[in-house]
Assembly symmetry: C2
């Protein structure tokens, strides 16, 4: 074998690996050690001004993009936060998400998202999948999960935030409001205004546990007054939809002409019901009163603002995210709700 002069010996040097620029390339280019580059890039540890500038220049010239996968593995502290939401279409979720995201972003965290479609089994799978990215925190909706999902969340050593609901037992941090109380408040409000023959239009209760809790609270109060819900109609739609409310309303009224109020599982359905009334000359609230849940923007801007209950959704996300990142103790925060009388009851 021919012996090459020293300068031709090919060392396994950083510039070999074509394609991606690594921290080693930057170090080489700046003529410094890797640790120093790492310190500069993370802005952590002391580095002289000139060295810092040399490194930043080299990094910029090479279009260096740090590899956080490697960084995360090395430091075993990730800047990822897992988020499992039941749906994206729903108006509620994006608002909570927006609140949470603002906080996460400020703190340099990146959300990894999964959508469960209100399916606990899917949720379980998503939680497992997301945990495998070793996030610093995990946000999920609601308190109801499969046993295994709960076990994973308890045992994974990651802070967990359960959002939107406080009626039940949480795992770690819980930020939400009481849906049962909201249902009760709705019933009390309607009863106080003299309504007695109240119908209910809802959507699939199995998938939306929280709507179920509201209904439960509503029923309780009715019973306490020796009354019952006159009739109910369930929209088959998954998630909530205006169309579902419209159809549900039509069906309900077909069967029961003497109702004086209708309670909807949420504002989307209520708006559908409202449109049905508008179209069919049913006078609101004289012929019929309507009551929803969520306090959606649009429901407050209809010619007659909808009577509904509003929760501080953005704040919920914000507070939850802050607590998740702050490392405080496990606790439950009830952010409460506000009953908006509106003009439909």
């Amino acid at each position: 074998m021919t012996k090459l002069p020293p300068q031709f010996i090919t060392l396994p040097d950083a510039s070999d690996h074509q394609g991606v620029v690594t921290l080693a390339h930057v170090a080489r280019r700046a003529g410094v050690g890797e640790s120093t580059v790492s310190r500069v890039l993370r802005n952590h540890g002391s580095v002289s001004r000139q060295t810092r500038e040399k490194i930043l220049k080299a990094a910029a010239e090479l279009h260096y993009v740090p590899n956080r996968i490697a960084g995360t593995l090395a430091s075993s502290t990730s800047k990822l936060v897992g988020i499992v939401i039941p749906s994206v279409g729903n108006t509620v979720v994006p608002e909570v998400l927006a609140g949470a995201n603002a906080v996460l972003e400020d703190a340099g965290f990146q959300p990894v998202i999964g959508v469960s479609n209100y399916d606990p089994v899917r949720e379980e799978a998503l939680i497992e999948s997301i945990l495998s990215w070793r996030p610093s925190g995990l946000m999920v909706a609601g308190l109801e999960h499969t046993d295994r999902a709960r076990d994973m969340m308890k045992g994974c050593g990651v802070r967990v935030l359960e959002l939107l609901d406080v009626d039940g037992e949480g795992i770690d941090i819980v930020v939400g409001s009481s849906h049962r109380e909201a249902g009760r408040a709705s019933a009390e409000f309607l009863l106080a205004r003299g309504y007695r023959r109240i119908g209910y239009v809802g959507h699939d209760m199995r998938s939306d546990v929280r709507a179920g809790k509201r209904l439960e609270g509503f029923r309780q109060v009715m019973e306490e007054h020796n009354l019952a819900i006159a009739d109910h109609e369930f929209s088959p739609d998954r998630g909530s939809s205006v169309q579902g409310g419209r159809i549900g309303m039509a069906r309900l009224l077909e069967r029961r002409r003497n109702l004086d109020a209708v309670y909807f599982s949420n504002d989307d359905l209520a708006i559908g019901g409202y449109f049905h009334c508008l179209e069919n000359g049913i006078s609101i609230p004289d012929d019929l009163a309507l009551f929803g849940y969520n306090g959606l923007e649009i429901a407050r801007l209809t010619p007659q603002p909808l009577s509904t209950i509003r929760t501080p959704r953005v704040a919920m996300g914000r507070i939850g995210a802050q607590m998740l990142l702050s490392g405080g103790p496990a606790q439950v925060i009830d952010v409460g709700f506000e009953l908006i009388p509106g003009a439909t009851s």
Copy 2:
């Protein structure tokens, strides 16, 4: 130093590291090599039935959750997809997201999301941040980006999908529809129906480039007919809102009482305008015609369905994600749009 008998020599063995269960623990417990465990867990490579079962049993018993950070680093192929969206609140985005997410999830990908709030600078930062997670693909909204953002997306070696718009030059894969054409179609529709004194209610054009393109197309057609937009009103709201439309509409009508049609930059605003009319006894479409954009569910369920343009948003997300993952060539797909005549014009 005392010499310990061999059995007491503490090797750096897997069970040392208390806390997190690693693949090495599983291997040890199952009495096999790490590679074999890896093969079983990834379902890749041949392993005998009994070994496989032994390993799965061990993994289950130890509650092993794989560390994908490590896996990604080792294989340098990640199962992450970056998504940068302009907003979550917007109804359009969740639908596209839902379509994309369905495909991504089926393929075992996890979305890492960033929200730019329609700010190109923020978008740039988010893109950089997300690229540092070394995703397999990147989805962004629209074709307008800062130069640096574009450079990063071109140079990062990752497939890029630009969604929602096809009016302009794309980086890699583009799936969307022409907003300019949509604007043109809207104008042609209104003109064909005999409307001539047309007003415009929009929101901040700088932040929503696509609304600007629609307006541009609309104007073009008007000019081709030697007409101009009679008057316009811009809602100051960031993003679109029903309230903005309502106020904008009120202001516009205050100034111009003789309009026969109003073109809105989107359905949210149009609904606001519609509500304003409902409330003020303005008869639609006799006194005034309305035209929106998006084909939102709710806009089709109002007592008079809104005239609007609808794009296949879920399909857009789905198709885009499929193309992103399929590894096909760079291309532009125009998914088109559908003009829905409605009852408001």
